[in-house]
């Protein structure tokens, strides 16, 4: 059998020791989500939107402050004494990577919530259908919208998702990870299906996301079971110890277990070949939700991947590294090559986000604290840029609906120089041009990979830069279209023209912040790099 004896349940109930200050961010976000549900029930409809949005933003900011407080309370927490071995088993690891990811997700969450709250003069959030449960085009839907129904439940749903997201990189055992995975996924499945326009597409996206997500969760759970069988524990540190001391005959459990657990996580970051859902879901989901998912889900999942790779399965690295290298290569190549042929802006950014996931994986494969720091930095910079980019997409309209087809963006730069300028700048950031945060982030992951990734790392980086060159073509094409192209069907028909609607202060704020941070981190990245570097040590 394995070196670590299987643990039984404790004979008597034991209270776990909890450092409440360390988990305060989690508590705040969860609490606000619960309060949000109550608000939904008790606050009158006409005030609900303001209350919900305000509550969410305030809660997220408070949680961010709590993250700063928690930085002084790092360590393992939520421990219970194992009945059989008298060891402490800790469920949560409050350490640098966890806190950095929490802070990042919370700030990105603020921007995400602000874009979701955009009403554009209506009663409820503009991007969401007033009645998600109704059949599209049915009288029920018409009645709901006539009655002024609004979908303010998106805010508590988002808060639950964020709770799952900040829990995800923090959990120290596989069961906790699974719970976090489900908590963050389920609200996103619902949110994806709530688009106000093109509802069938949205519901299709939701269903696809749900089915594939359920599969991947099952994979994760099955992998966890195999790893438990191998090591006799769900705690990452124990698994790591078991791998280093365990007999080789047991690899029949370890290798498939590790693969299956990784599949569950790689699904969430949209790594190839687990990416098939991404374009459809990104396209179908309400645009603010897409931006939120692209930024925050990715951050959370990469946090969990880092912890799994660096804490749980680090000692068995030779078993799975090659598979992950292949996945990183595939992700970069498929993401960038397929983005070339896209004609829909949201699908284009979906494939671009796949390619970016590949770049981040290159950083993960550096297997060094520098790599961890680079991944943290990359995820943060990408998050700010992508939220702003999707927020801008949500503003480009034709006949009231979003104009996401590339041809509809032609000539936008001539009529809306400011919006097009910001979007072009974000495109340059995705392309990794100097003076944008994208360049610094790419440089960080690539230099970490060349530095400590060995020959494999160098090969990954060479493929990475070639894929960057491919994606530059894609982004440049968008810029060409906006600046050098002529507006489609310039017939002078004002009602039919593609226009950029004037957003309220919330969306404006998130676009401005996202763009400014993208610029600032491109010019003076050292403060955040330093923070990411210092936050790159895991506790075990």
């Amino acid at each position: 059998m394995t070196s670590v004896a299987p643990q039984g349940l404790p004979a008597v109930f034991q209270q776990s020791t909890i450092d409440y200050l360390a988990i305060l961010p989690l508590l705040i976000v969860f609490g606000v989500a619960i309060v949000g549900v109550l608000v939904e029930a008790f606050v009158p409809r006409d005030r609900r939107h303001m209350v919900q949005a305000g509550l969410a933003v305030v809660g997220l900011l408070a949680a961010f402050v709590a993250v700063i407080v928690a930085a002084k309370h790092q360590g393992l927490t939520m421990g219970i004494t194992d009945g059989a071995s008298d060891r402490r088993l800790f469920a949560l690891a409050i350490d640098g990577p966890a806190l950095f990811m929490q802070g990042t997700i919370l700030l990105l969450g603020v921007l995400g919530v602000l874009t979701m709250a955009e009403r554009l003069g209506g009663v409820g959030p503009d991007a969401f259908t007033p009645s998600g449960a109704s059949t599209p085009g049915s009288p029920f839907e018409t009645n709901a919208s006539r009655a002024g129904a609004l979908t303010s439940e998106v805010f508590p749903l988002t808060m639950f998702a964020i709770f799952g997201m900040i829990l995800f990189p923090t959990t120290n055992d596989l069961i906790g990870m699974f719970v976090a995975l489900e908590v963050l996924s389920l609200p996103l499945y619902i949110l994806s299906g709530l688009a106000r326009r093109r509802r069938l597409l949205s519901q299709e996206a939701s269903l696809k996301y749900f089915l594939l997500g359920a599969f991947s969760s099952a994979f994760f759970l099955f992998g966890s079971a195999l790893l438990y069988g191998y090591s006799g524990s769900f705690v990452l540190g124990d698994i790591s110890k078991a791998i280093s001391t365990g007999p080789i005959e047991m690899n029949g459990l370890l290798v498939p277990g590790a693969f299956l657990v990784f599949v569950g996580l790689l699904f969430k970051v949209a790594a190839v070949p687990f990416h098939a859902w991404t374009p459809d879901v990104y396209q179908g989901a309400p645009t603010p939700v897409t931006g939120f998912m692209a930024a925050c889900t990715k951050a959370a999942a990469f946090g969990a991947i880092l912890r799994l790779a660096y804490v749980g399965l680090d000692t068995g690295r030779w078993e799975w590294t090659n598979a992950l290298v292949v996945i990183a290569l595939l992700t970069m190549v498929v993401g960038s090559v397929l983005s070339v042929t896209q004609t829909d802006m949201k699908r284009l950014l979906a494939y671009s986000s796949i390619a970016h996931a590949g770049f981040v994986l290159v950083g993960v494969l550096a297997f060094d604290s520098k790599g961890v720091g680079a991944v943290l930095f990359y995820v943060a910079t990408y998050g700010f840029a992508i939220i702003a980019a999707f927020a801008i997409i949500s503003l480009v309209r034709q006949n009231g609906g979003e104009a996401t087809h590339l041809s509809q963006w032609a000539g936008l730069g001539k009529r809306y120089p400011l919006v097009a300028g910001a979007f072009a700048f974000l495109m340059l950031a995705f392309a990794g041009i100097p003076a944008t945060s994208g360049f610094m982030a790419k440089f960080a992951v690539f230099s970490a990979a060349v530095g400590t990734g060995g020959a494999t790392g160098t090969v990954l980086v060479v493929v990475g830069v070639l894929c960057s060159a491919i994606t530059v073509f894609v982004y440049a094409r968008v810029i060409v279209l906006m600046y050098f192209g002529d507006p489609p069907g310039d017939t002078g028909d004002a009602a039919n023209a593609v226009e950029v609607v004037v957003p309220s202060v919330t969306t404006t704020f998130s676009i401005a912040i996202g763009t400014v941070i993208t610029l600032a981190l491109g010019v003076v990245p050292s403060a955040l790099l330093d923070l990411a570097d210092r936050a790159s040590q895991f506790v075990r």
Partner: protein, 538 residues
Amino acid sequence: MTEMSSVPWLTIMGLIPLVGSLVVAFAPGSALMAKRLALGFSLATLVVGIVAALQFQINSPKQFQLGEQASWIPQFGVSYSLGVDGIALVLILMSLVLTPICLIAAWNDVEEETAEAGGARNVKTYFALLLVLETFMVGVFAATDVFLFYAFFEAMLIPIYFLIGRFGGARRQYAAMKFLLFSLAGGLVMLVAVIALYLQGPGGSDGFLIERLTGLSMDPTTERLLFVGFFVAFAIKAPMVPFHTWLPDAATESTPATATLLVGVLDKVGTFGMIRFCLQLFPEASHWATPVVVVLAVVSVIYGALLAIGQTDMMRLISYTSVSHFGFIVLGIFAFTNVGSAGSTLYMVNHGFSTAALFLFAAMLVHRRGSKRIPDYGGWQSVTPALGGIFLIAAMSALALPGLSTFVSEFLVLVGTFPTRPAAAVIATSGIILAALYMLLMYKKIMTGPPPGDLIGERALARLTAEEQAQPEHARRSLVRDLSTREKLLATPLIAVILVLGFYPNLALNPINPAVDKSLSHVLTPAAGNAAAEGSSK
């Protein structure tokens, strides 16, 4: 290695156009006001540049002068570090002189082409982009930190991309995209080499400084790979055969001012990078690669010239001559003689002015005739005698007539190449004959013989008033005006510089020579380079 300066001259030089571009882009006012502002800012930069150049000590023992250094991204080992040696100094001065000339040349280009599309905003954007470009030109030549150089090298693509893609001719989008993809592909390969170079070096928070990376003892394979990474990017930029195909498109489709800055200044970054980075940082690999590079250079000289002879489009012809000239420059650099490298550096400066003259004077012809096709012309000497005269000077300078600046540099390159690469030098010399052929043929077709029946082309005709259009064709000759004041204003300094550097090349050679000696010291005796690096690290 770097002599620090108490006044941050180089930063000031870079900031003035940057501030200028913001002012030009966002200040209210007419298009004329924006143009005047832009010209004012570029002239102010030139003044600062000259003042800074006067502080430059020709015989300083340090490699770089006017130095500035501050920590920028210590996590990556990146410093904001500027400094110039003689090579960088003359190239910066060339850029600073060419920018106002190009601004004057660009005075009316944009309004005419895009007046219906947005009026003053287009003009402002155009001039602001040209000023941004000037900032990057100063930065890329002055950077003494490899990362900083790379950042300027890549960031520079964006303003050019917009300049070509937004303000160029009919196929401008294609040309801009082609330019961007070629440059970025090279640049991204270089990025890998930049990262790997840092890891080969001593590292630390200022590990990207050139002086820290000079004289490293690397594994030969690694050094060669790094060399290739840098060289390909520079060869694309330069451009050398077989990476030259983007240049004719970009130069033909962009406005004459953009084309001038593109070919005259930005392509020099490639050859400048070869001296500064390939030779200085990878001396052993430079020797290893020389046979291939020299062959490519000679091929560029001959092939570029042959292609130029076959062109019927003036702008295309001029850009192919540049491919040929860049072959000469690279040949001189990889001759590994002091004379050859000094000649190449001087060639970079001279070629900047002579190409500017060709592009801008040819643009004056195009403006009058409304066509870039050489067969559309003929006998133009009699139509606009003064323009014919300056065009002749530009053509002579491109074929390196003694007395004009290009002669000295071409001569030095060949003299410098002969001792180490006699065969290459002999073959390249025939490039001079081909140069005479393509230039004189073009001059003959445009300037001699009978003038075309319809003197004014259709597009130019559209600019005339109805009354003027109504005149009989033979009377329209008087409507084709000779040089305007603006054109004289931009032609005079160009021709003056070409003549001055032709008769007194030491003006540029004096600062170049010691800089070339220092840069080449590593490649000529790699062991001495190592010793020097060890000395500096102690």
